[in-house]
Symmetry: C2
Subunit: 242 residues, 2 copies
DNA sequence: CAAACAATATTGGATGTCCCACCTTCTGTT
DNA sequence: AACAGAAGGTGGGACATCCAATATTGTTTG
């Protein structure tokens, strides 16, 4: 259940202890009914309360920080954190880059999942999109076109376009997940060679997606959104094949 | 390009240092062209190579372990790991439980994302599903029905059903993500009260999903899959309202 | 000779201690 | 009243030391 592969026996104890400690910390937060933003006990207090050494406790705390459970502020204290998937993005980016050096499976899987999410959810997003939100999407497209015309890359505008596209769903988790996928996607794109020459073509692709959304044609929007990912997928294939 | 010994003077918050250290470790893996399963240097060697203390290094390593980047085996060594999202699941479960005590936003968002993923991808999965895989899905349904008839819960069979449903896509990342969502979903389900009385109804819901899949009706399968999540969503609403 | 056992080297696991860096707050001067 | 500096508390980090688990090696034993 845990991991495929070597099923050693006592390897659980070490790993289990760390995870039990993480669970203890989370339980403590839940038991004390702390909300996001509330302070946690100090490291020394926690170490004493949980019966472990401070360094051991810190290892768990850093994991919880990476998972977005706690926020640690040097010299100030530790707090229950709002969701934060940055570390997850780093880990997945690493996996993508690692896989590119061999068969590229994970990189392709990542693109597939992102495509499925965006392409599958665009319909619902269009249902709830207000005129103002639609205008914000077009603003992003316009900025991409301007940057493309100037020969400059438009990393941030691209991210913003996709973020605004799914803002109507009002789902912070989804936005975070898409941000993770976008970040990893971007890294893979860089690694794989962006083909900097077709900047204007990329902007045009986004313009066509916008037009489908503005026109209310869900099927067309989903299709164009899906097509948007074909480029990088083919590029990954090329890198793998050679 | 490890940039070990970054001459950072100031302004680098502790958080940035930790993440830089994680990045250094990942870069080291990439630079040495290590594949999954390959051994990493020992803790002491790494600490020396990266110019940090052993405890500091361990904090980063534990994070990387939680992110599924490295696998740590007591007394044996550290290795580049296959993907492992268990820790992520714990973190998200925590967030879900935390949110249930207040507004429940994140719990609902989680269900929404899972629904979107499963409902949106079932069509592609059906395209690629073999007869054998379809039979495996039915086997899971049958087992659920048997357990329901015996009055026993069918946690594992439920998970297996959904896993097998998307196995044809051959996307390990997707399977892992769905496993995470399923795990969190189940925890929320427990927290929110499962309504143990409708076991047979739950089995029947899965049977109907299977029938739609077997019949090749993608739209119907997607709809029934989506309906499958309405129950828990309403239950979460009830918990929040009161 | 081979299998079983035991000692050992190597590795990560955990803790305590000491000091540093950072942030807030209080306090005293201007 | 406003600003600057001191003080206290917090997390950040490095060692040193010991514990625990694993694989290897060497010996014993049938």
């Amino acid at each position: 259940m845990t991991t495929s592969g070597v099923a050693s026996k006592a390897r659980f104890s070490a790993q289990a202890r760390l995870r039990a400690l993480q669970a203890d910390i989370m339980d403590l937060i839940l038991e004390r009914e702390l909300e996001a933003g509330d302070p946690l006990p100090t490291e020394n207090e926690l170490a004493l309360a949980l019966g472990v050494g401070r360094n051991t406790l810190r290892e768990s705390l850093k994991v919880l920080q990476a998972l977005g459970v706690v926020e640690i502020r040097h010299g100030f204290g530790m707090f229950v954190a709002p969701s934060n998937f940055d570390a997850l993005a780093d880990g997945m980016t690493f996996r993508g880059r690692l896989s590119l050096r061999h068969k590229g499976d994970e990189a392709l899987e990542l693109v597939d999942v992102r495509q499925a999410l965006e392409s599958g959810l665009i319909g619902s997003a269009m249902d709830k999109m207000t005129a103002g939100q639609l205008a914000a999407v077009e603003e992003s497209v316009t900025r991409m076109e301007e940057l493309a015309a100037a020969g400059e890359p438009f990393v941030e505008a691209d991210a913003e376009f996709h973020r605004r596209l799914f803002e109507p769903l009002n789902n912070a988790l989804l936005i975070s997940l898409l941000a993770v996928f976008w970040k990893v996607y971007r890294q893979i794109h860089l690694e794989v060679g962006t083909g900097a020459e077709d900047l204007s073509e990329m902007a045009a692709v986004h313009r066509r997606i916008y037009e489908a959304v503005a026109g209310g044609d869900k099927a067309l929007a989903a299709e164009r959104l899906a097509h948007h990912f074909d480029g990088i997928r083919h590029r990954i294939y090329e890198v793998i094949e050679k």
